[in-house]
Subunit: 262 residues, 2 copies
């Protein structure tokens, strides 16, 4: 048996024993010249559908690399049904949101334009690349879905029945976030975090009135939008999501190669 | 009465009515050339002891600016007694930790060197500058204290009686974080977050055995150290800290100038 894989890659191809997986230029370069891997070296791969598999490097060519899939390492699992609805932030901060939301187990990223949203477009390729990289790194077996960016009003008009939307409200009446989420159970949920500088006041008032919206408060300090994202996700995951499993061990069931126990 | 202050500055000077406050070159430049403020314009100031005050610009000189303190805007308050004990991360990630921990209401930042800590020194001036900037921005009335960086073993050997240390454990037996913190009450607490790549296994085992340590788990995904900081702080603040206040409004009692209600 080969040693532990030094890396973990998200791929599009179906994964099953004996399958061949081709990697593009960028990944081939990464394996060969950054990690200095060679023919026969192991790599972990996942595609969001078939679990995680051990694959061995078949060979490198000019701008490609091929792998042969050997054995399944983990069966497919999923993350809780939690959407993050967020106003796009400036470069850097939005990369951060994609990375952190993925680590925090969001199932779907929904960029929305609010009245005060600063960037008026979203680089979806970049958003996706950040989410993929974070999924590889945090040992998720899925990459969050990306919804097309739409105006917030439209996202709210089309809101699916039965999904609670927790509004991270920086003003107005709201419930303390832990109190609101403690009683949430495992029903579908979404968090809404506004733009830097906050929602427009009348916009905030309109959102708060919607029947599926629960305004929640994140304490007495003004949080940056990107901080609020991680903080609100942590509250939900720890109180209603997949950090709640009792019985001792809730840490990653399958550790990275750096862990001798893996 | 002058209009709302466009900025909020942390200063060292005592603050009381009629007091003069001098600002250094960097701040004078910021007020004059970035914000384009002039004589008579208002600025909010705080020093961590005397609350927040309205001050008016007296005048600018070559590399300085002086303010006259007018009236108190908010009485002094404090943050909960919560320390963050963390292994220094690379530049960028450690800036982020200082910013986020300040927003999240940490009272003391304690950098510690673990066995696998990558940077072997900490730029304390930079850490402090990031904490000050975040305090100004998030409307805190204090800047977190900075402890001198020490080896983790020494921080643990000198641990103060009565302070619980929540160990963010990426392996081994741990309680789900919300379950552990729900019963915490308002006693002094600290969170310990390890370096990128995690603690050394034997180090983790040793820490977990200490009588004041409660190992907590942050779910089934591998979080980056900087993500774990914000996530664990959010859990503590929302369950045992100052995000718990009932009675409707737990949001910032005093809003930034962008808010028309401020």
């Amino acid at each position: 048996m080969a040693e532990q894989p030094k890396t973990r890659l998200y791929v599009d191809s179906p994964l099953a024993e004996g399958q061949t997986v081709g990697l593009d230029h960028e990944r081939a370069h990464f394996l060969r010249h950054v990690l200095r891997l060679d023919r026969g070296d192991p790599v972990a791969v996942f595609n969001g559908r078939d679990g995680e598999w051990l694959a061995l490097i078949d060979g490198f060519g000019k701008g490609w690399c091929s792998l042969t899939v050997e054995a399944q390492r983990r069966p497919q699992d999923t993350v809780p049904d939690l959407w993050l609805v967020f106003a796009p932030l400036k470069k850097g901060r939005i990369d951060f949101v994609a990375e952190k939301a993925t680590e925090m187990g969001v199932s779907r990223l929904c960029p929305v334009f609010t009245r005060r949203t600063d960037p008026n477009r979203v680089n979806m390729d970049r958003l996706r690349a950040n989410a993929v990289e974070a999924a590889e790194q945090c040992e998720r077996l899925t990459v969050p879905e990306l919804a097309d960016p739409v105006p917030l009003a439209r996202a709210l008009a089309d809101w699916p029945e039965g999904r609670t939307l927790y509004l991270c409200a920086e003003a107005g009446i709201a419930r303390p976030i832990a109190e609101a989420m403690r009683s949430a159970g495992s029903s579908p949920a979404a968090l809404l975090v506004g733009p830097e500088g906050g929602f427009d006041q009348s916009e905030l008032d309109e959102i708060a009135k919607l029947p599926f919206v629960v305004p929640v408060g994140l304490g007495p300090r003004i949080l940056r939008a990107d901080t609020a994202v991680v903080a609100a996700l942590a509250c939900w995951q720890s109180l209603a999501g997949d950090w709640t499993a009792g019985g001792g061990d809730t840490r990653p069931p399958f550790r990275s190669p750096a862990d001798p126990a893996a």
